[in-house]
Amino acid sequence: MTMTPVNLSSTVADDEPPVSLWRDAWHRLLRNKLAVAGLAVVILLAFVAVFGPWLTPYDFLTQDLAARNQAPSLAHLFGTDDLGRDVFSRVVYGTRTAFVVAIVVTTIAVVIGVTLGAMAGYFGGLFDRIVMWFTDMTMSVPNLLLVVVINASLKTPLTAWMEARYQATLNPFYRETIWVDFLLVFGSMALISWPPYARLVRAQVLSIRGRPYVTAARALGLTNRLILIRYIVPNAIGPLIVSVSAGLGTAMVLESAFSFLGVGVNPPTPSWGNMISDGLRVWQHYPHLLAAPAAVLGLATVAFSFLGDGLNDALNPRGSK
């Protein structure tokens, strides 16, 4: 408590601009040093992801067989790999892959999770039970196993189908097998990522559903859809933002894990995961091939994690000082 004399006329805050909950949270976030550091790294990585191709000295695909397996130097900051490709350029381009995967997968997972979770929590009953049954079922299957099974069983038939369509229509769209990769990688990752969001949102909605302002909204005759979108979801969003921030980092790790297992983004498109996978085979001789992508992946994960923790504190004013 400060001892400044209270100006009675100003207690009603007549001229002050309204301070929104979000602006309050933003100020609290800026006071948290780790969170600011995390935010800075995330912004830097996002910048690199967007403008990467214009920042790198080399193309990520150009092979220079005269300069294979070079140690880091001024010409090649992170050295070169066994095909003479510049590792720095590949890591930079891998950032784009990581962000695309993280954002697309998390977006799909959040849309599915929030929709199902919010409806399950709000309507309850049979719908709730069925959604929760699917959630539990998905969560009870080992993630990696599920993704490997989906990829292994669907990739060949899908590619064959695309080829058949191309033969039949000669539409060049069907030539691009990259769509199969995207569909399978993004689809299977989203499939295993939505249940935690659904659970989180359902729990939030269950506690918000009974609040007086929801009853008041119903007494105003508003429709369930309007109440869900305007009254319940916005009040449930705090914990979700925290979870999404951490989830983006997790999705990057997940993508790397899949690439490592050979079910992720396909070479030659650089991803941190397949770079780690390649580097691991020769790490005793050329440790930089493993260290560079691994370090960047670690940095990204830690940054998202710090940012998530910071957001958690910022959005829960009662949680901590």
Binding site: A13, A219, L220, G221, N235
Partner: protein, 336 residues
Amino acid sequence: MTAPADNKPLLDVRGLTIEIETRRGPAIIVDGINLTVGKGETVGVVGESGCGKSLTMLSLVRLLPNKIKVKGGTAEFAGRDLLKMSKSELRQVRGGKIGFVFQDPMTSLNPVMRIGDQLCEPLIYHRNMSKADARKRAIELLRLVGIPGPEQRITAYPHELSGGMRQRVMIAMGLACDPELLIADEPTTALDVTIQAQIVDLVKDLRKKLNMSVVWITHDLALIAGLVDRVAVLYAGTVVEDAPVGELFARPTHPYTRGLLASIPKLSDEQASRLSSIGGTPPEPGRRPKGCPFAPRCALAESVCHESVPVLESVAGTSGHRVACFVAQRQMKEAA
């Protein structure tokens, strides 16, 4: 003091019974309530906590919590039974024809929406207003409920307003679509005494201006004495006495009503006497006595009171004063 000449009441609740599911089976919380509200009439519904006041009103627009169900009775509003309406008809009544003001203004407004947007919502939904028109109307409403500087306040979030201001916003929301009936569920309980009086005066003023009926739920008889035309006294889910307000204060007939009136502290009391109170507690749902629900706490109870349940009967020589008490009814007959 009296309802307008139009004989058909705006709201006519008959035999409304509400049950709650408990682990030991269903228990009755509201037992055959009869209540009428005429057009332009203001009715106070009085009773202690847990007597079923709020549930009765929530059941009218079918907003009861999950485990609580209406088991019988009708509730006609402007000639249509609210309890049998379709969901979409009901949504038109909610907010459009019946406005609600809730007990706790601190938690009854959406914390992440500006109050202007919350006010506009029912207008856009029920009245198909454009955003700009709804905004104008929202400013008018805020002015109507006495909020200074409504043009600025419309962009405020609920946490920027005081409790009294928020309750005014709640009232503005209840009034947004010119309802025929405003149900105020203990709207002053969470407020300071001085603010309570302001809110009572505000509603008193508004109901004349807008020519609407008001049901004011409260446990504070003194607060509403100057506001309401008629009072229904509830005990354990039944109406025990129903009378014009002046009549009720002049001649309280049910022992419970007398107890309530006696427990209002008076400044005129010369010596500091102990506050009068009614001994005992109301029956729990599921453990209702066989006879009159008030009999176990009643000083005048006779054997008949423990045996059968009294019904509302007119008090001789009055208009519209009814009481459900064997003893009072017998005493009146003897006096006559």
